[in-house]
């Protein structure tokens, strides 16, 4: 009888041990969780291209409803080209705001006038010249907004390695948007697109890079 009691105690002890092991496993599984928010790369968000892109031969409508010829209007000017849309909550306004704030902080007024920041909408159905104009005015009234035929915009984006798709609804009626988020910087010297800037670029990154991009120098 005594033996049986011992056996029971042993069993209980075993169960307790297993439970303890289980508990420590749980706390161990917390460590990989902290790795989720790692920053991408330490080399900075700007990439200098070996083979510069040609500036797209885009002719679209600006926020005043006038025809805007990208090559003609930006020739010889440092130019930042971005494809996005105003109904974009995250990256589009952040990228434009980062450029606006950094230009304010790192460039002279003359340099800011020289710089062309061109936002081309990938959602021309909703982004009319007026809608685009009021949105950009909230960021920097110097910025140029262009709208027009989606296929034309898509082809231009593709020519500088950026993929954009019309926003669609999946079978559950949920919206799906695909758009590349890089900014292409064109040199005032060559008019070639020679630097790609990733969406992770912060204001501080632009403050560092804009004075160089203005000169057509490598960031």
């Amino acid at each position: 009888m005594r033996k049986k009691t011992f056996a029971a105690a042993a069993l209980l002890a075993a169960a307790t041990l297993t439970l303890t092991a289980c508990g420590s496993q749980d706390s161990g599984s917390q460590s990989p969780v902290s790795m989720v928010s790692q920053e991408a790369g330490q080399r900075g968000p700007a990439t200098v291209l070996d083979q510069p892109w040609d500036k797209p031969g885009l002719v679209l409508t600006d926020t005043h409803g006038k025809k805007y010829d990208l090559r003609k209007e930006t020739q010889g000017h440092p130019t930042l080209l971005y494809f996005g849309y105003t109904h974009c909550p995250d990256i589009c306004p952040t990228t434009m705001s980062n450029i606006a704030v950094a230009a304010q902080k790192s460039l002279t007024p003359a340099q800011r006038d020289d710089l062309r920041v061109v936002f081309v909408t990938t959602d021309p159905g909703r982004d009319t010249p007026a809608a685009l104009g009021s949105w950009l005015k909230g960021i920097d009234p110097r910025f140029i907004g262009l709208t027009g035929d989606f296929k034309t915009v898509q082809a231009a984006a593709r020519s500088v390695g950026i993929s954009v798709e019309p926003t669609t609804k999946d079978k559950n009626g949920k919206l799906v948007s695909v758009h590349g988020t890089q900014v292409v910087a064109f040199s005032p010297k060559t008019d070639g697109g020679y630097v790609l800037i990733g969406e992770e670029a912060t204001v501080d990154d632009y403050i560092k890079d804009l004075p160089k991009l203005i000169e057509g120098a490598k960031p």
């Binding site: 009888m1 005594r2 049986k4 009691t5 056996a7 029971a8 105690a9 069993l11 209980l12 075993a14 169960a15 307790t16 297993t18 439970l19 289980c22 749980d26 599984s29 917390q30 969780v33 989720v36 928010s37 920053e39 105003t86 109904h87 974009c88 909550p89 995250d90 990256i91 306004p93 952040t94 705001s97 980062n98 704030v101 009021s134 949105w135 909230g138 960021i139 993929s163 999946d170 559950n172 949920k174 919206l175 799906v176 948007s177 695909v178 758009h179 590349g180 988020t181 969406e199 992770e200 912060t202 204001v203 501080d204």
Partner: protein
């Protein structure tokens, strides 16, 4: 008389076995959720704003974020970003002892039809609803349009 200890032993063994079952299958465990690092970059207009936050689950059971609502907005939707594709999602899993992270460039909350354009320094209150846990109320500060959590400005 002589049988009673045997019964006790069996009962003890059973209790041990039950405890073991509880260990391998965390069914009795509960999700313990908390929210940190929430912010909204000051939006360009009242049409649209983004929101970011982290939900930490200290509990041993998974849960699911099923909806987000705010009196400040007509609609709040949840989106994932995978390989350049932004997709509206109807729920997001929160693993046991894990986190669900909404951050710029990744998962994000999208506020539409805002009553007013939120300004830096203000707070937007939202309610998070979960599959298992009770709802959580978050007071989300509005930061500058260019705010980045890594630099804090």
């Amino acid at each position: 008389m002589s049988r009673r200890p045997a019964v006790l032993a069996t009962a003890a063994a059973l209790a041990g076995a039950l405890a073991l079952a509880g260990c391998s299958k965390p069914a009795p465990a509960k999700a313990e959720l908390s929210v940190s690092g929430s912010y909204m970059p000051q939006p360009v207009s009242a049409d649209m704003a983004a929101g970011f936050l982290t939900i930490t689950n200290k509990g041993g059971a998974k849960d699911e974020l099923t909806s987000v609502t705010s009196a400040a907005a007509g609609r709040v939707t949840m989106h994932s970003t995978v390989g350049g594709a932004m997709r509206e999602e109807s729920s997001f899993p929160i693993p046991a002892h894990g986190r669900l992270v909404f951050k710029s460039g990744g998962n994000h909350l999208m506020f539409e039809q805002l009553r007013h354009r939120p300004k830096q320094g203000q707070t937007v209150t939202l309610k998070l609803t979960f599959a298992a846990s009770g709802p959580l109320t978050v007071r989300m500060p509005v930061e500058s349009a260019t705010y980045h959590p890594s630099t804090g400005h």
